[in-house]
């Protein structure tokens, strides 16, 4: 329906995904950072994001042998999404104390960061906190669209809902973000 957008904020070499002759190293190199950023924006916690990204890469390694050429992004992001939901379920059973956010951690650093860096981080931190306040379905759709750079059809394939549902979630998610950040 629409041409695929280039990956948001990612260098060009990370975008194309060779579907033939796919190796785990290819996936780790081209998608590892996207998976990590997706996990970080969904959880807001770098340690959780790292654990989740590693879990996804291990699942990909196990699943590559049985991967049938088709929608690689749909396959990969279904794995990523399932790993995230499994992690959420595990954490509900064993709740943990959240880490302080990035601004708090920088404020405690021995050498203070320049003002413009702090302001940039504070804005980023505000956006991150607003993202975390979104209902999960909206946050997931917005992050997959605006951080990972997937098309609506790819998001719908990964999440398992119609494209119209994704369209609505992204729209409502952005609307709520705007209200929280204005």
């Amino acid at each position: 329906m629409c041409p695929r957008r280039s990956m948001v904020g990612f260098p060009e070499w990370m975008s194309p995904m060779p579907e033939l002759g796919l190796t785990w190293e290819d996936v780790a190199r081209t998608h590892g950072r996207k998976i990590y950023n997706f996990a970080y924006r969904l959880t807001g916690n770098p340690d959780d994001a790292a654990d989740l990204a590693q879990d996804v890469l291990i699942r990909v390694k196990r699943g590559l042998a049985s991967y049938q050429p088709g929608s690689f992004d749909g396959w990969l992001w279904r794995i990523t999404r399932n790993a995230f939901l499994d992690d959420v379920r595990r954490k509900k059973r064993r709740p943990t104390v959240p880490l302080p956010d990035e601004v708090d951690r920088l404020a405690r650093a021995s050498v203070p960061a320049p003002d413009h860096v702090l302001a940039q981080i504070r804005l980023g931190s505000d956006v991150q906190n607003a993202l975390l306040k979104l209902p999960h379905d909206f946050r997931e759709a917005v992050v997959m669209c605006d951080i990972v750079g997937l098309s609506y059809a790819e998001i719908a394939g990964a999440v398992g809902v119609p494209v119209g549902t994704i369209r609505s979630r992204i729209h409502r998610g952005r609307g709520q973000l705007r209200e929280m950040l204005s």
């Binding site: 196990r62 729209h171 973000l177």
Partner: protein, 142 residues
């Protein structure tokens, strides 16, 4: 006049069909409310897209690379073997405990003495109690 609503986000993302896009563009020309909403949505999208892209910690990929498929496959048989061994151990211990434990007998020394027609001992204890105490102390079970 119906407003564009959620078509606006899809318009920003280039996710509309040609026909939908024509309708949205035509509507936007005359609707200040939808123009304002489009600006708000664009602002929200820009803020999310401006979030910094973070590097993956190196241990994430090296750790995943070190975790081989063979390790994952081997883990399962080992886990099943451990579970089976644990179940067998519990069964053996349970059976041994059941066999080794004599059934509890709720009976008084006087009743034993009466049943066996034993005389009372000199200190007034029934003879049965004296016999049981002596044999228990010596580790004899009868």
């Amino acid at each position: 006049m119906s407003h564009s609503g959620e078509l606006l986000s899809a318009y920003l993302d280039g996710e509309l069909t040609s026909a939908e896009e024509v309708d949205v563009v035509a509507h936007l020309e005359s609707c200040t409310r939808c123009q304002g909403e489009l600006g708000d949505l664009h602002g929200a999208r820009a803020m999310v897209r401006a979030l910094p892209i973070l590097e993956v910690p190196t241990w994430v990929i090296s750790g995943a690379a070190a975790s081989t498929a063979e390790m994952q496959v081997r883990r399962r048989p080992l886990a099943w073997a451990a579970a089976a061994a644990a179940a067998a151990f519990v069964l053996v211990i349970g059976f041994a405990t059941f066999v080794a434990t004599p059934p509890a007998i709720d009976i008084t020394f006087s009743e034993i003495s009466d049943t066996l027609r034993l005389p009372a001992s000199q200190d007034g204890l029934p003879a049965a109690r004296a016999v049981v105490i002596a044999r228990t102390a010596g580790g004899i079970a009868e």
